[in-house]
Amino acid sequence: MAKTIQIDGKVFPFDGTKTVLEIARENGIYIPSLCYHPRLGPASKCRVCVVEVEGMRSLQTACSLMPTDNMIVQTSTERVIEARKMVVNLLLANGNHNCLYCDMNGDCELQEVVHHLGIEHPAFIVEEKMELDDSAAFILRDPGKCIQCGRCIAGCNDQVVNEVLDFGYRGSHTAVICDSDIPMGQSTCVQCGECVQLCPVGALLEKKNLRKAFPWETRKVRTTCPYCGVGCQLELHVKGEQIIRVRGVEGAQPNLGRLCVKGRYGYDFIYSPDRLTTPLIREKDGNLREAGWDEALDLVANKFKQIISESGPDAIAGVSCARSVNEDSYNMQKLFRSVIGTNNIDHCART
């Protein structure tokens, strides 16, 4: 007999590899959370995912709770809701949580929890506003929106292993720091944006798309990063014909959401007026002139034929680009081996 767990009166089998939070979510039961991220595992810091478990005195964090056979879990008792409301109100009491203005309005996990719990106004305010860190090339840090969940830090240290971000200070002074608490722009940060991807709120924003679109205004297009041969999976957030933001696709191989600075922020070339729109042929006087595809391809084919007839096919070598997808690389070697007739074919990533 498979082991089972009861969540809100419904019985689910489990195999011991998943937490109560994961089982609940897979079965359509919403348990709010803030510091938990599937890629980073349980952190048990925010205490928003607490649930009531029969036979256990204290509320338990569902993100770290492993099920046992016949465990009975209640996800939204009065006690649970009261505790969650208190936790969220405590978070709202400090900082600057201004959804009306925030770029993450509509894609914010704190906002989602506030909405779910029906907190119309923060129950109490203690402090507001903290200084922005505007020093970095791509990332804008707003400590006033930070909830100290630690996801950015886990990403920076354990996922991309850049070791820039950490928690500094302690207690209510706890803050996310770069290196020795210097502005991000002066730190060793390489702006990969992993922290932005993992941030559940609007504490880490992208300068490139500030106030360009609310999350619901963009359509999401999945694609492969064109930069290198790794083939990272991207999710483009597109408004009209304009890319507003690039995200790594969580859970998709090979990058599992991670991206480098180029993949995440280097998309401006698409809109560059310097991009070639037609083939160019260099004239005898050294100048380039625009040409049509047929003319250009005929010229290249004829030149190849001429070289082969004069010097043999081995006078030609091909180097394909590491940014090419596998299919293009395959076609390239096919062209050289079968059509041109040489084995002089290589790939730039090998050199």
Binding site: C46, L59, T61, N157, E163, G168, R170, G171, S172, S180
Partner: protein, 571 residues
């Protein structure tokens, strides 16, 4: 970096099973060698030495209070203003120092000679007010003594410190006769029967020792009162990983100053207790995690370990003294393990428990100093003899620390189950009229004078009385004390010490502090009192470690039992 410093760093690193554990000792060394200031260069050196990122080292440096990331004066004067210090008049000393030095708290004199700070709990509860000057304690301070101290320091000389304290040992098991010369030495200890228990233990099978300790029913003296023998028996059987023993000497619960009495004056008892326990749980490496403020006590322990080693007592275990960095939360066993691994003192999520997954992911036992100091007696005299001391289910001697408004504050080693009235009498009686008493260190519920009458001081009786024996730190409060002021001091301690990891503790302590400050400043509203109670009710049991409970329980008790005093503050 000087060659000598590099050699010292290498020596430190070699002491630890894993390099990253050396990060704090290296930081401490580099701070000491740079006029008590850990600058950026020092942090970078420490990071390189321990193979860590600068971010991590900066995170550590700003987590622990003993690292000065900004320059300080030649003499860093730190006055303990936490609850016991407050009851003993610490504020008067602070004001006196401010006036005398012409600076405010947090400032340094122009000649860079003195920096004045207030700190939270130095475990000098019965000998307050206390001023810590760099790594020395000056206890039992008065304004006149403070003047003398400053004058002497101006001449570059540390004066002798007045360490006198009231000590009564009825049980005579844990405390030593400190008036005897060389009472901390090996010869003195052995002359009085020391290391006989270890000799016996070495002839016993490890399981036999565990059984004996189990049968003694000794309950852990750190505060929770969990049976120590049972804790040992949770270790996995037939496991190939090394087992570690950690002696928890991070005594930081306000009102508690018992462990330092054993370590400072009877260090071999601690060493023998560790040696026996290490044999029982088959640990080849043991650590004494001592709070960094107790620097001189750490030296005493190191000397005792060296003596015992030379005497051939420690052939089976290597004991390393590890100095903490100034953090109350590191008294929690999983935070202590994190700290020992060279991290910020953030408690871990449990399960897994240390018995299965502790230091370096290995089976680990963390026992309090006083618990381990009981072990030699249990092994030598047997569990049955031990059980004769105290009450059923509450056996053995207990060091009660009494501070606050009594005529003879000090340490009192009495059997568990002694009546509070008897102890207060032994402590010279209450100064003035008793208003309330906190019997288990600051984190337990205060008892009113009426509730405290006839209280029996053992784990079960205190629980029945709606409080807890905790660490046995008894804070006596007379009717000159305002309970809202006491509550503010209490929450300020936890607010200062909260590790900041989980929301209810980090933000809850912050909001309660703000609201209590508001009330005491005459800016509070009636609903603030209920808000604090609402927070306390919900924070209890909701935090990642027991710290949330440690402040929500006492604050809730103070407000519910003395509510009128809080309401009177609302204008």
């Amino acid at each position: 970096m000087k060659e000598k410093t590099r050699e010292k760093i290498n020596t430190i690193i070699k002491k630890y099973p894993e390099k990253q554990s050396a990060v704090m000792p290296v930081m401490q060394l580099l701070q000491k060698e740079n006029k008590n200031h850990l600058n950026l260069a020092g942090m970078k050196d420490a990071a390189r030495a321990a193979g860590l990122g600068l971010n991590r080292v900066y995170g550590i440096a700003t987590y622990y209070t003993l690292f000065n990331t900004k320059p300080v004066g030649k003499y860093h004067l730190q006055v303990d203003t936490c609850v016991p210090g407050f009851l003993h008049g610490a504020d008067k000393i602070v004001r006196h120092l401010e006036k005398k030095l012409g600076i405010s708290v947090g400032e340094t004199t122009k000649d860079k000679l003195f920096t004045l700070s207030t700190v939270q709990d130095l475990a000098s509860c019965a000998t307050g007010p206390v001023i810590q000057v760099n790594d020395r304690y000056y206890e039992n301070m008065t304004p006149a003594k403070t003047d003398k101290l400053i004058e002497s320091l101006k001449k570059g000389k540390y004066p002798e410190s007045d360490t006198s304290m009231n000590i009564v040992s009825k049980s005579n098991i844990l405390l030593n006769d400190r008036t005897q010369k060389d009472c901390t030495g090996l010869a003195f200890y052995k002359k009085n029967g020391g290391y006989r228990a270890l000799k016996k233990a070495m002839t016993m099978e490890p399981e036999q020792i565990i059984d004996e300790v189990k049968e003694s029913q000794i309950r852990g003296r750190g505060g929770a009162g969990f049976p120590a023998g049972m804790k040992w028996s949770f270790l996995p059987k037939n496991d190939t990983r090394p087992v570690y023993l950690i002696c928890n000497a991070d005594e930081g619960e306000p009102g508690t100053f018992k462990d330092r009495q054993i370590m400072e004056f009877n260090p071999h008892l601690v060493v023998e207790g560790i040696a026996i326990s290490a044999r029982a749980i088959k640990a080849a490496k043991a650590f004494i995690y001592i709070r960094g403020e107790f620097g001189w006590i750490a030296d005493i322990l190191e000397k005792a370990i060296e003596e015992a080693k030379k005497d051939g007592q420690l052939s089976h275990v290597d004991i390393l003294v590890h100095r903490g960095g100034g953090s109350y939360v590191c008294g929690d066993e999983t935070a202590q393990i994190e700290s020992l691994e060279g991290m910020r003192g953030n408690p871990r999520v449990k399960p897994p428990f240390p018995a299965n997954f502790g230091l370096y992911g290995c089976p680990t036992v963390v026992n309090n100093v006083e618990t381990l100091a009981n072990v030699p007696y249990i092994v030598e005299k047997g569990a049955a003899a031990y059980r004769k001391i105290g009450n059923p289910n509450n056996h053995g001697p207990k060091i009660y620390g009494i501070s606050g408004h009594v005529n003879k504050p000090g340490v009192y080693e009495y059997p568990l189950g002694t009546k509070l009235d008897e102890l207060l009498k032994a402590a010279g009686g209450v100064k003035g009229t008793l208003k309330g008493v906190i019997v288990g260190g600051l984190s337990v519920a205060i008892l009113t004078a009426k509730e405290a009458k006839n209280l029996v001081l053992d784990y079960d009786s205190c629980q029945k009385a709606g409080t807890a024996l905790g660490s046995g730190g008894i804070i006596v409060i007379n009717d000159t004390v305002s309970i809202p002021e006491l509550a503010l001091r209490t929450i300020e301690f936890y607010h200062h010490e909260s590790c900041g990891q989980c929301v209810p503790c980090r933000e809850g302590s912050h909001v309660i502090t703000a609201k209590l400050r508001g009330l005491l400043a005459g800016k509070g509203k009636m609903e603030d009192i209920d808000l604090i109670l609402h927070l306390c009710k919900n924070i209890k049991g909701l935090t990642l470690c027991p710290t949330g409970e440690a402040f929500s329980v006492p604050i809730q008790a103070m407000i519910t039992k003395y509510r009128k005093e809080f309401e009177a503050l609302v204008k």
